[in-house]
Symmetry: C2
Subunit: 277 residues, 2 copies
């Protein structure tokens, strides 16, 4: 199966029951060439130690998740968010990945103004993007499903993400294409083509859509093949748009997290080959 | 307050703890001039009896909810859905409302093809729309929030709804504009203008967006003013598009349903005036 996993990357959150050394071991055993890492477990392990661990194992760090949360209006909160995002850029550079995923943030308490919140993201990127470039890191705005628009991410579609990203050079700011968030959107294929035409597909992630959604709707993403999304169709869209990079599987799922992490990694790799390979 | 309630209509589901006679009484007491009714409680009471009850009370039936669920592929299921929708048209006509709200239906089991499901809706409407016209009823396609795309409604945006509706005369098929489902969509104001330009805003409904969403995400709609949606802005959009009809408040909320229905109706009317009046 190894040959078919050339493009595959496992996002650390999918198998968060594994420690970082366990994840690295499991990737070697299953033949997984890439990992998308998260800041919190990397910080807990130590950024430099984590970087050495994955580098010594020959793993490619395909993304770091995540920066963002740039919608605050209070000056001190905004300054803190910018400082934290600069640290995220530093961590991405230390880990050797060229892509920092950004989840934009929701509406501030009491606000009903999505448009203004989206503008504050663009304002913040004007400060962050040059800093990221200096460190060899590209920012990848991730539109999240519209069900997260109020409390997590005011950027809900690829079109909205590109409207922001295109204010910057493509090597500074692009987008994250994640099937879970955009599969319902009949405009998304055209927006993928738009993103590809200017080299802005900075990462491509997979998760399947299953129902019923759990309370809070955060941790109900489906294993590849279990849900409503035609994975091969979306892979075709990004490849026709010129994307040749890694394909990350990123699942948040309370049930999957109760399982043996190594077994789950092997299953996920197998599902990737079956449904998106 | 009565004068400010001229445009207000209460959707029966908002106060489903009230029986139909209790609802009619409460509307009189609060000064509510319109009701949006649901098929199941109307059928349980008797369609003709319900029609007489609301007519005698001088209430306007602003909509009947709902027809639709037109995405089946199996011929017998499709025929059953069409027959049920003809009955819904008959019931709407008997109740004296000119608007039947349509919730399109989700993906059939095992299907991943949203586009084909949307086409089957258009095919079904080609049969239903002339029947509805003969009975003086307009069909109002309701885009539901994208979080319902797989299991309830493959039509997720006003643009998608209009792409279907515009294949038919406006007096046969239009759309339902419901703030809960479209508030996140930066394209929605332009689509409301598009709908208004051809007389296709057949009903306008309000519900607020609150989080966290409950398991299954169906019954978590917020009381007007409790959430993230700028109600007055959306009222302005539909009115600038030429809409002068009733404004229905339709909430599905397990917590609100535990309260006294008459008190809830009065509160809802008051919130309407405060936030959307």
């Amino acid at each position: 199966m190894t040959a078919d996993l050339t493009r595959f990357s496992i996002n650390q959150m999918t198998v968060k029951q594994l420690s970082l050394p366990e994840l690295v071991d499991a990737c070697r055993d299953v033949g997984v060439p890439g990992v998308g890492l998260w800041r919190e477990p990397v910080q807990a392990y130590g950024v430099e130690a984590a970087a050495k661990l994955v580098r010594d194992a020959g793993l490619t760090v395909t993304t770091l998740c995540r920066g963002g949360f740039l919608t605050a209006t209070a000056p001190d909160e905004r300054a803190a968010a910018l400082a934290d995002n600069r640290r995220a850029v530093d961590e991405a550079a230390a880990l050797g990945t060229d892509t920092l995923v950004l989840v934009s943030g929701g509406l501030p308490p009491g606000s009903r103004d999505l448009r203004a919140a989206r503008e504050r993201i663009a304002d913040a990127l004007a400060e962050l993007a040059p800093y990221a470039e200096e460190h060899g890191v590209r920012l990848a705005i991730e539109p999240l499903h519209p069900m997260f628009a109020s409390d997590r991410c005011v950027v809900s579609t690829l079109a909205q993400a590109l409207d922001i990203a295109e204010r910057f050079p493509a090597h500074q700011v692009g987008v994250t294409v994640d099937t879970y968030h955009i599969w319902w959107d009949d405009r998304a294929p055209a927006q993928i083509a738009r993103a590809g035409a200017t080299g802005r597909i900075h990462t491509f992630q997979l998760a399947d859509w299953i129902t019923p959604l759990p309370e809070g709707v955060l941790n109900g993403r489906g294993q590849i093949g279990d849900g409503a999304i035609d994975m091969r169709a979306w892979r075709t869209y990004v490849e026709e748009a010129g994307y040749t990079g890694p394909i990350e599987v990123e699942l948040f799922n309370d049930t999957l997290w109760t399982r043996d992490g190594r077994e789950l990694l092997a299953e996920t790799a197998s599902r990737f080959v079956e449904h998106a390979g």
